[in-house]
Symmetry: C2
Subunit: 330 residues, 2 copies
Amino acid sequence: MRVAIVGATGAVGQELVALLEERAFPVSALRLYASSRSAGRTVTFRGAPVTIETLPADGDLDADIVFSSAGGSLSKAHAEAWASHGAVVIDNTSAWRMDPGTPLVVPEINAEAARGHRGIVANPNCSTIIALMALAPLHRAFGLTRATVATYQAVSGAGATGIDELTRLTRAALEGLQEAPRTFDHDIAFNLFSHDSEVGDDGYNVEERKLLLESRKILGIPELRLSATCVRVPVYRAHSEAIHAEFAVPVDPDEARGVLADAAGLRVVDDREANVFPMPRDASGRDEVLVGRIRADASRPGGIALFVSGDQIRKGAALNAVQIAEALHR
Amino acid sequence: MRVAIVGATGAVGQELVALLEERAFPVSALRLYASSRSAGRTVTFRGAPVTIETLPADGDLDADIVFSSAGGSLSKAHAEAWASHGAVVIDNTSAWRMDPGTPLVVPEINAEAARGHRGIVANPNCSTIIALMALAPLHRAFGLTRATVATYQAVSGAGATGIDELTRLTRAALEGLQEAPRTFDHDIAFNLFSHDSEVGDDGYNVEERKLLLESRKILGIPELRLSATCVRVPVYRAHSEAIHAEFAVPVDPDEARGVLADAAGLRVVDDREANVFPMPRDASGRDEVLVGRIRADASRPGGIALFVSGDQIRKGAALNAVQIAEALHR
């Protein structure tokens, strides 16, 4: 298959190149697109250099699959044109996720939805994917009705500049200096803050609204009640989430653990004796989302509490996109 | 009043000395006790040196007020003896908190309970104090019935060694090295993990159980349902908590904001437009607990979601203890 990556130099773009190679995706030709700043540089793919290009004006990316991760406005403006030249666009941005005609897909959960695409398949938001990897199997078994979620989100969600900023500001803080933040509104060094997205009239920010609306769409539960508090923490590249979930039937925690242990793409890390549970350090660079702290919700009979960590760049973005491509290819 | 501090060299002990001076507590004589390692060193109080001593064998600390923060087992073994010599022991450890004869006090919430002491007044756990500073006024107004809490806890909860460890391991990580953790089970640098306390058969760790049981006792709601997920984050000295709360009556978020704005010891930081909410950076070194993200719980009609940050060493420990002493003095 001819593959193109739009936004090839970003954190997700680089991970996409690595994953296509690592997973031996059947790539017959790879085109890498980025801004004019990066054009002309080369990236090594399967031992050979691929030159980065700027986007062609005619919208023909010379590809069967286009991975788009260069921002929502670019995808909004161009994804349909790219698709009109015969490509399937797998869009890593928020542009098409809530479009009723666009499937929103986590392959372990709703791979079949991808088949109904009209040229664009949307990749969900990272915090949604990581939460649903645990909530979807529980939903299939017990019928999810309500969840409260508190996130611990890595700086990689803001791309490579977020990663650089954490290093830069932490170095400064250790020197006793305070440098101005550039990527975030607030200083992330030894600090945390409410997610850096716009806050609506209901008090929820855009990230939190994504978690609610995307979960409803992916799980097919339009009436799902979900309230999230999204928080940025000084961690590089894996998101964690503390979740309380309620179901249509009372759920036994051992039964829940069994369901999670059998679920694809999840790894149960739940060693109470050794106090070993999901940590971003362990989730980083790994395909599986880690789930643990599985226990009966002490505040709601029949409810379940749990904690997940997942690599934000991999399963939260690039890996999920490649898995969508793999599902389409099959 | 003659004042003694047991554990004078720890993070909380040092803060107690600073607060007694800063708040002009009526100290007629100050005795500082610590282990033999520190004995003989001096600490400056109101411009004069105070020599650190080891504990006297006879249990007479020569004090009207004893602040105890040298660990639960020491308090368990000796607090009654100290009290038998006429002192009121304000205990910063977990030793006496759940003892039915010992009041557990947050002065803004239940100062009157301190009056019923029999020689010992217990200072609650830091994460409990910080959560209840926001939940107690809401409880008084609306009747708290249930809460889910996810914490973002600073390393200072493990004392001065936790603070040193965050610096040491972060420096190492920035050099590309990985040093072994000493204070915590896991590496805290650019990482987070489930709270480093023992996990019980129900899957909750000791810190989470404290939040439940101490909240019930302080608020006087034996049937309160509360489920917490306690997480250690790479932050120095302020704890944050994402809270979803349910009440006996439906609560309007604006009404809740009004109640919180009027509550003693709280500061509402809730600027949706500027995306400024409670942050540990801002809460550190400050007496008030910060509260924001006040909004209707999207998952439960009538419920409220909010986010708090409070200095773990001050209001979470030393300040609350000094406020108890002030209440007793009045």
